[in-house]
């Protein structure tokens, strides 16, 4: 398929270039340049964005990175203890919730839809439902979190806590996990399933020993992408009540007793500082530095996912 495409392209290019030689194709040239400009704009914006952010935050990143990573929320940008530690802790716990809740549920749902589900109304309804859930704006998930996890299940989550936030974001990425895992499972060749069944395996044994191992890279790609999405998501957290002003309590990174208390997260800190920068210009570099910290994590996850996918796609 791939080889065929390359060959076609080359042949066609050879043919068309012959055709083009006869008369200069001005219209085609202009069109092509326009397209290239479109693509260039997208890439240029990406470059400006990255460069601008890094230069804005450079004074902090180069000057006091250690303090910045271990510091907390402060009301003055000049405060030497200003930093993102609490945000990192919050984001970390959110990631844990996503991993613990959304991954098993999402993969389980994908397995059901691809391997077990009969062609029925219920199945197509679940299918449609998941596709639409993926398109629901993230603020709406924030409202869900506020109504159910913050207010409804307050006894369980402790109200506006990192638990409520974590569950909310797990719910938010659930459809993404399901969709990507389904795709990965669908890509498992039918012959592998038949071989398993033919050897006398039950459905679950075939899933466990053949399908999941084969689909693992694809599933991993999807889960990594959804994890990075969860880490970068801010809107639902605002609704769920992430702290923006000042957050007391400097406990360790993995202190479980924090789970039911108020929290903040990296994207929230960024939002807060960007907005504060109107009042106190010093917050702008701090926000930029926090963005760099977050982007490092998010982009690492993303590139790992993209790399994994391309790597295994090529191998098969």
């Amino acid at each position: 398929m791939r080889l065929g495409r390359v060959f076609d392209d080359r042949t066609r290019r050879a043919v068309t270039s012959e055709v083009y030689r006869r008369s200069r194709d001005v219209r085609g040239g202009v069109f092509r340049v326009l397209l290239q400009i479109a693509l260039l704009v997208a890439l240029l914006v990406l470059a400006i964005l990255l460069v601008d952010t890094v230069t804005d935050g450079w004074s902090i990143l180069s000057g006091r990175l250690g303090d910045f990573l271990s510091g907390g929320l402060r009301s003055q940008s000049g405060d030497p203890e200003l930093g993102v530690f609490q945000g990192i802790r919050g984001s970390l716990w959110i990631a844990v919730f996503v991993i613990v809740l959304a991954f098993p549920l999402g993969i389980g749902a994908a397995i059901y839809l691809e391997e077990y589900a009969p062609k029925s109304r219920l199945t197509s309804f679940i299918d449609l439902n998941i596709r639409n859930l993926a398109g629901v704006p993230s603020v709406v998930y924030g409202l869900l979190g506020l109504a159910i996890f913050v207010r409804g299940l307050e006894g369980l989550t402790g109200g506006q806590s990192v638990t409520a936030a974590g569950i909310t974001l797990a719910v938010l990425v659930l459809p993404i996990v399901i969709i990507t895992s389904s795709e990965a499972i669908r890509a498992v060749p039918q012959s592998l399933r038949e071989a398993g069944y033919g050897a006398g395996a039950t459905k679950w044994e075939v899933i466990r020993t053949q399908i999941l191992p084969y689909a693992a890279p694809g599933i991993l790609t999807g889960t990594l992408l959804s994890l990075s999405r969860a880490i970068g998501e801010a809107a639902p957290l605002i609704l769920v009540g992430a702290v923006t002003g000042f957050l007391g309590g400097q406990s360790g990174l993995v202190d479980i007793s924090q789970l039911q208390e108020r929290f903040t997260a990296l994207p929230i800190i960024i939002t807060e500082w960007v907005q504060e920068s109107g009042r106190d210009r010093g917050f702008a570099p701090a926000a930029a530095a926090a963005i760099v910290v977050m982007l490092v994590v998010v982009l690492l996850l993303n590139s790992a996912a993209i790399f994994l996918r391309n790597h295994f796609e090529k191998k098969r």
Partner: protein, 299 residues
């Protein structure tokens, strides 16, 4: 009736794991109708109809498959050979909308009885597919797969079982140094023999093969044919093949299927034309359609 109760009791008290039980001769069970089931018949097919959705793909097949023989199924493309073969180990259950009616007795037990667990059937009726489909695992894990999931053998015996199966599949000498390597690295012919080894590792009663040589070169094909000759000593083999020389060379009995078009519904269906000793099918068939086919005048 006493025989039935006996065998029931044996199965209940000992399962299959009791050594004495496995050495006992196959029990004589009774067919649905009540008459005794001949001990050397493995499958008895009566008026088997296969459907995909509402489409009746195969009509009214009746045939007996005997123990320790190679039965070949031949016929033009689309006449339902694969469909019928996959009824024997209920692989068709995996296709949504596929179902079968009629009688299919496996040593006297109705395979389509609601109480029958298809997984159990597939452990006793192994299958080899048209395209070699080894698992993307090591050679050893491929062969050990069946025994492992069946859970019937202790871990310590696995190497022996793997070796024995590979030997019986005439592959051991070629792969004995690469047991831990991925099976994907084997040649096509080796892969297919590995699939045979995998199928016989669970010690099945019957081997079903769906055009096992169609993806192989002549030398690998010869290998596999030779192998089948030896396997015949221990297993009952049903093979679907497009290669008429192959059917003539290796099989004891041959079933010729063909496709026809229903005049009313205008749908194509497959049917069994003739089922007889291979020699007769190829030298002196009683049906004209068979003769046309085997002499190459049709299909």
């Amino acid at each position: 009736m006493t025989t039935v109760t006996d065998s029931v009791e044996m199965a209940m008290s000992g399962g299959g794991a009791v050594p004495q039980a496995s050495e006992a001769p196959p029990a004589v069970a009774t067919a649905a109708g009540g008459e005794a089931f001949p001990p050397d018949t493995v499958f008895r097919v009566e008026d088997l109809n296969c459907y995909y959705g509402s489409n009746r793909a195969v009509r009214d097949v009746t045939m007996d498959i005997s123990e320790r023989e190679i039965t070949a199924i031949i016929g033009p493309s689309g006449c339902g050979k694969t469909t019928v073969l996959r009824c024997f180990n209920r692989m068709n259950d995996l296709i949504e909308g596929a179902r079968a009616t009629g009688t299919l007795l496996f040593r006297g037990v109705d395979l389509y009885d609601p109480r029958v667990d298809p997984v159990e059937v597939r452990r006793r009726v192994g299958m080899v597919f048209q395209k070699p489909n080894p698992f993307p695992k090591s050679v050893f894990d491929n062969v050990a797969y069946g025994p492992r999931i069946a859970g019937s053998v202790p871990k310590s015996e696995l190497p022996d079982i793997v070796e024995a199966s590979l030997r019986r599949a005439a592959l051991f000498e070629e792969v004995k140094d690469r047991l831990k390597d991925s099976a994907i690295g084997l040649s096509g012919g080796q892969q297919q023999r590995l699939c045979i080894a995998r199928a016989i590792a669970t010690n099945p009663d019957v081997l079903l093969m769906d055009e096992p040589c169609s993806a192989l070169d002549p030398i690998s094909t010869a290998h596999i044919e030779e192998l089948m000759h030896r396997l015949k000593e221990e297993y009952t083999i049903v093979i679907v093949t497009h290669n008429m020389q192959q059917a003539a060379r290796i099989s004891d009995r041959t079933a010729f299927f063909t496709a026809d078009v229903d005049a009313e519904t205008n749908s194509r269906y497959g049917l069994l034309v003739e089922f007889d000793d291979t020699e007769r099918i190829f030298s002196n068939p009683s049906d004209e359609r068979t003769e046309n086919y085997v002499t190459g005048r049709f299909g």
